[in-house]
């Protein structure tokens, strides 16, 4: 390689980076019209630079492309709902059994309460003396009836009723 070609090719990076002043650029261009060897070198680097721009554009398109929509499976939602219902039902049963755990055998069997159904005015028949409180609702045919057992006060002990002498 002659010194002139060496000097021109040392400006290759500046030429690629567009950092050459107009005079230097004109010198390089003039030399390239005369020297096939240097022209080949510059052409290959020029092609590389253009392909780098193409590659960069492709990367920018990948970066800015809208994301593909998520695949929605049609059975996913009903299955989730069914699973949620099953879970809630199981949890509800567990909570209920924990709250209503019988402490004594008498609580296992509730006191018999019979509602006469075929009469015009329903009648509540309880086996023990019970206080019934009726709460009306918006529906005239439905009332909420709450049954209270009578309160049993503790009886006085014989020692208190008969003071010792």
């Amino acid at each position: 390689m002659n010194p002139r070609c060496e000097e021109i090719q040392s400006r290759l990076d500046e030429w690629l980076d567009n950092e050459l002043n107009p005079v230097s650029r004109a010198e390089v261009t003039t030399h390239l019209t005369e020297c096939a060897e240097c022209r080949d070198v510059f052409t290959s680097f020029d092609l590389l630079n253009r392909n780098l721009v193409g590659l960069s554009s492709a990367a920018d398109r990948i970066a800015t492309a809208p994301r593909p929509p998520r695949i929605i499976r049609p059975f996913a939602t009903p299955l989730r709902i069914a699973a949620a219902i099953a879970l809630l039902a199981t949890a509800g049963l567990g909570v209920r059994s924990a709250l209503h755990r019988p402490d004594s055998p008498s609580q296992i069997v509730p006191p018999p309460v019979v509602v006469a159904e075929n009469s015009a005015a329903p009648t509540i028949v309880a086996s023990t003396p019970t206080l019934a409180v009726s709460l009306p609702t918006r529906n005239p045919h439905i009332s909420i009836v709450m049954l209270y057992e009578p309160v049993r006060l503790p009886s006085a002990s014989p020692a208190e009723s008969k003071p010792s002498l």
Binding site: W15, F42, D46, L48, L52, S56, A58, A63
Partner: protein
């Protein structure tokens, strides 16, 4: 005949200072994609980098944030272990660059082989080349990101270009 270096595409113009965190995030995503070539991987890496910046990075208003993020994204990309396959380039090339279908195929193959050749460069050369030619950063900014002198960055870019031209163009 040679017409001079091609003008950078508008989308890749990274020289202006980022005006917002969203703009900074967009630049980091573009840079990460140029390193790993997979959008999902790149988004995860950028997310990790921003997360790290909250605890270890400069403040949001600090001008040093952008170089710090470039450096962090670079390290995360280089240290990435699980890697998804790179996205094929054929669908992402500009069809206007090709004059015919055969030209488009030839150009896609050429750019695909360029991508592979860039991936085989030494890390310093690869990062310097991507920042200079694909992120359109100037040498001072690249030196700040890579924590090298400007002369060292110029050398890395020069060596990378020469290696790629030798491999792809058959240059001397």
């Amino acid at each position: 005949m040679l017409e001079g270096p091609p003008a950078a595409n508008a989308a890749a113009d990274q020289t202006a200072a980022p005006t917002s965190l969203d703009e900074l995030r967009r630049r980091m995503l573009g840079f990460a994609i140029k390193l790993v070539w997979n959008r999902d991987d790149a988004e995860e890496i950028v997310q990790d980098a921003f997360q790290l910046s909250l605890t270890k990075g400069p403040a949001v208003t600090d001008p040093a944030l952008a170089p710090w993020l470039y450096r962090t994204v670079t390290n995360l990309c280089l240290n990435q272990r699980r890697r998804r396959p790179p996205q094929p380039l054929a669908d992402w090339l500009d069809p206007q660059d090709a004059t015919s279908p055969s030209d488009a195929v030839e150009r896609a193959e050429s750019i695909e082989s360029l991508r592979a050749a860039i991936g085989n460069l030494p890390d310093q050369q690869r990062i310097a080349l991507i920042l200079r030619n694909m992120q359109q950063m100037d040498y001072n900014e690249i030196a700040q990101v890579m924590q090298l002198s400007v002369a060292a960055v110029r050398t890395h870019v020069h060596l990378a270009r020469r290696a790629l031209a030798n491999k792809l163009g058959g240059s001397q």
